[in-house]
């Protein structure tokens, strides 16, 4: 472990990785949606409130923000806010399912500076993707990519959540990215939001995690958002990245109603630090909230303390432990030494925390279900 990691654990004056979900509204209903999105929340930040948040980011020197949702392009003021951010020195990377990237919108996007786009797919073919993201969503994403390419947007990102079902397609995803001159981004499936339930069927199997580790080592240019540091316990070589849980230290999330959470994967009251509408705004929450102060204190390694791999793996992801009902100071549910599986097998469904921020549409969302 580097001294830098130790310094980062103490927290920074402003986040490095700030995610801002602009809306809970979404036209899709992915079974693993980390924010349980679907319906717009009537308390959503207004355009003026959102601009005030951007003003704060500028003052705090947050150099870029990751915008997501829901589907952020659904907000009627989406372009206005993106332009306001980039013209204030806050670069924007936004995640989208692609449904709003028409040929005209693609041209508009291509004309903007300091803007990155990340299009989400979860399968390299329609069958695999649509089982998770819904009927027709693969074609929608491909159409968006075609439109961006035709508009000469330049390199965008293709973002994939690695699951048990798509992990055999890593080379296909890479080929798709190469075809569009895009960058491939692979991230870890966490049991957050609607993933609280679907994770148990979708998370990669132990042998698949080994394959993934080797694939990532062989493809070091792959973007991962430092998702997979728990895999570092598999070998002598560490995956590139900072190798720590950044929640409340270098990472945080602002949700559509202005609530500030420790990370995008812990939308739960236990990890809510405050609201941007509170006096002192976002800056005060980041610098002085009780929760973030606590997360920056030395954390106990708990049951991982006796594991020789702790330096490499740091005990994994806090969100993954929390939403599977496991102790936060123990092994990750996907601990590559198998300690998570053992612990998990003793935890009943009733021990899993429920989402405290659910905006799912009132339709059952199940793997492979046909939606209307």
């Amino acid at each position: 472990m580097t001294a830098l990691t130790e310094e980062l654990k103490l927290g920074l004056d402003a986040p490095i990785c700030l995610t801002w979900e602009l809306t809970y509204a979404c036209n899709l209903a992915c079974v693993h949606c980390l924010s349980s999105s679907g319906r717009r929340d009537p308390r959503e930040l207004s355009t003026d409130e959102a601009k005030a948040v951007i003003d704060e980011m500028r003052d705090l020197q947050v150099f870029y923000v990751n915008i997501g949702g829901g589907e952020p392009m659904i907000r009627p003021d989406f372009f206005e806010l993106v332009e306001y951010a980039t013209s204030n020195g806050v670069g924007v990377k936004f995640s989208t399912n692609g449904s709003r990237i028409s040929p005209e919108r693609a041209v508009q996007l291509a004309g903007m500076d300091y803007l990155d786009i990340q299009i989400s797919i979860d399968g390299a073919d329609a069958a695999t993707n649509d089982r998770v993201r819904g009927e027709g969503s693969f074609q929608t994403a491909i159409d968006a990519m075609e439109n961006l390419q035709a508009a000469d947007f330049g390199p965008f990102k293709i973002s994939v959540v690695v699951t048990r079902e798509n992990i055999g397609q890593l080379d296909d995803f890479q080929a798709l990215a190469d075809h569009y001159g895009a960058e491939l981004r692979l991230t870890r499936l966490r049991p957050s939001g609607r993933g609280i339930d679907s994770w148990h069927e979708l998370h990669p199997l132990p042998e698949q995690q080994v394959d993934l580790y080797h694939w990532l080592l062989a493809h070091p240019q792959t973007l991962t958002g430092d998702s997979f540091f728990h895999l570092n316990a598999l070998g002598d070589e560490n995956l590139p990245g900072l190798n720590l849980c950044g929640a409340g230290r270098v990472v945080c999330l602002i949700d559509p109603v202005g609530d500030v959470y420790a990370c995008p994967f812990v939308l739960h009251d236990d990890f809510k630090a405050g609201n941007v509408r509170d006096s002192g705004g976002f800056g005060h929450v980041w610098k002085a909230s009780e929760l973030f102060t606590e997360l920056r204190e030395p954390q106990s390694a708990g049951a991982c303390a006796s594991c020789g791999q702790f330096d490499a793996c740091q005990g994994g992801c806090m969100a993954a432990k929390f939403f599977t009902g496991m102790p936060l100071d123990g092994p990750d549910p996907e601990c590559v030494s198998g300690h998570g599986e053992v612990a998990l097998s003793g935890i009943g469904i009733e021990a899993r925390p429920q989402s405290t921020s659910n905006h799912s549409k009132p339709v059952p969302v199940a793997l492979g279900a046909t939606r209307v």
Binding site: L4, D13, I16, F63, G89, G91, T224, G225, D226, V251
Partner: protein, 103 residues
Amino acid sequence: MNASSATPASTEASRTPFDSSAPWRLHPRVALRPEPFGALAYHYDNRRLNFLRSPDLVALVETMGAHPSPEAAFAAAGLDERRWSAFERALAALAASDFLEPA
């Protein structure tokens, strides 16, 4: 966490070999944010992050453009000569990712 853009600059091949006797300056599209360990540097053009991990390094980077060479800047800052090679390596890494540019 998302630090995919925080890959150490030293992993990228240097386009301009770093010459510590030639003039260099901070790239105009780089912003520095003070942090407890030094500063966080962000390059608005290539969208990379770098960690400047000592206040001395931050001061050097900020004043680089006012000196005829990094070596002159080291001397002006009164840095112990035994530390020069370490600073030179740090600056070379920054130059390799275009955080510094020939002046």
